[in-house]
Amino acid sequence: MKLRPIFSLALLLLICPQGRSQETPTITIKKGDAVAVSLQPLTGAEGAAATKVLENDLAISGWLNVVPGGQSGFTIQGSASAGSVEGRVVNAQGASVLSATYSGGTRSAVHQFADAIVEAITGNKGIATSRIAFVGTASGKKEIYIADYDGANVVQLTRDNSISVSPSLGPGARQLAYTGYQSGYADIYVINVGTGARNRVIKFPGTNTGAAISPDGGRMAVTLSKDGNPELYVTSIGGGGARRLTKTSGVEASPTWSPDASEIIYTSDDSGSPLLYRISASGGTANRLNTGASYNTEPSWSPDGKQVAFNTRGGGGFQIGLLDLARGSVRNLSTGGNSEDPTFGPSSRHVAYAQGDAIWIIDVPTGKTFKVISGVGKATQPSWSR
């Protein structure tokens, strides 16, 4: 704490002009600063439709700000036809920054182009080719769905006609684990998203729920009550080799993995109210994470490992909190209403959540929110691919 005033002073000296012309000026780029780009409507048979998709991708990306006219450092142009996009980015000097062809259907090609634009201009990972799995009630029952992150191409993954909830996407959206009640109990199922093949992998006595596939795709963290109390376990992706990590008289829930799959953050109410804890995936001491709130559930670890999003309760509803793991600081996100089940996107600057009947995305640095998935009854419990 004593260091802080000195640090602030040093920072102040760095950024305020001191009249020393021989010093190289320090440019501080805040996370909220978007790079201005110009977008020329895409040409070609599918140009109009492709341009709409691209505009939306760029708006949500957070890294880029499309400005009218030509007053920007980069111009985006290209053409779309026959399910392919030929895309280019040139800088203010007219030099090519990006030039490539993308295929696989118009929307997919545009999304690939959008991610490539973000990467070429800012060096960061985009979210335009990602997918979000969620629970929808359009059929009258809770079933698992998956869609493009912008809400297009909604696919119903389960037809269990029961209660199918708590979806968790594995790496690359190739596998999805969820809790299904077809047997009358809460069991864990794993779906191969590409083929639709499904297997029940965990069916211990009691309740099995909250499965989270590890970032390497080989394991799951899950809550099992088979030993007489709901505790946190790690199993193989096939459901075998269950190893218990916790022993408490309370309940453990909602595990989320660190990006290197070495640690897990979860909720436990062993102290009397649900708090966040951090533990090695191999077992050991659980360390409590201090958020300043008494109710902390549904944590989601960011892909860059730096933050945890979680639900906190107050004011008659749920808010989303962000805990900076290194600094220990917490902020609440302004999402304009009751927001549940936060899940980080692959950029580590976007968080998806359920609000009203829809799935929304917030770009944390700018605070902009986007309603992305709706029209599937009540949509809840999003899980975002990485």
């Binding site: 009358g184 006595p205 909250g210 030993d227 007489g228 022993k247 109210s273 089940d341 809840t380």
Partner: protein, 166 residues
Amino acid sequence: MKRSLFSCFSLLLLLALMAGCQSTKKDFVGVDGDYVTGSPLPDRQEGVSFLGGNVSRGDFEPIYFNFDSFSIAGSEAGKITAIAAAMRNGNANIIVAGFTDESGTEEYNRVLGERRALAVRDALITEGISGARIQTVSFGEELPANPGSGESAWSKNRRAEIGVVR
């Protein structure tokens, strides 16, 4: 004299051990095969589930719980006694289903419901009923008894129900 001194010493030793256990409670992490604070659940019966046709629901009053709690209140204890008495008079198995109100997030509510079901099971085991006769399931905030909002509805949803296997 010696006997009471021994008892006193044993009690002190027990208290010391318990105090020791309390202080390291947060640090201890179980390993496979170790017991947890409840009693392990028996294997499920094939083809039997709480919502299924071969289970009779409503034979007993639901046990109600306070907000965010899985403790069985003194006012609810009589219901446990009644269930235990009925189970001693027969050999039917039961499934205890745990539920919550909607004022929590879904996954936390699912495990809270399970903890309520297990609390009822533990109470019945304490009354001498074999744990092998009792299964648990949690529906979390699904299937509310009262779909309304507000405390009068929610207090009816924070419950454990008993299903008797026919």
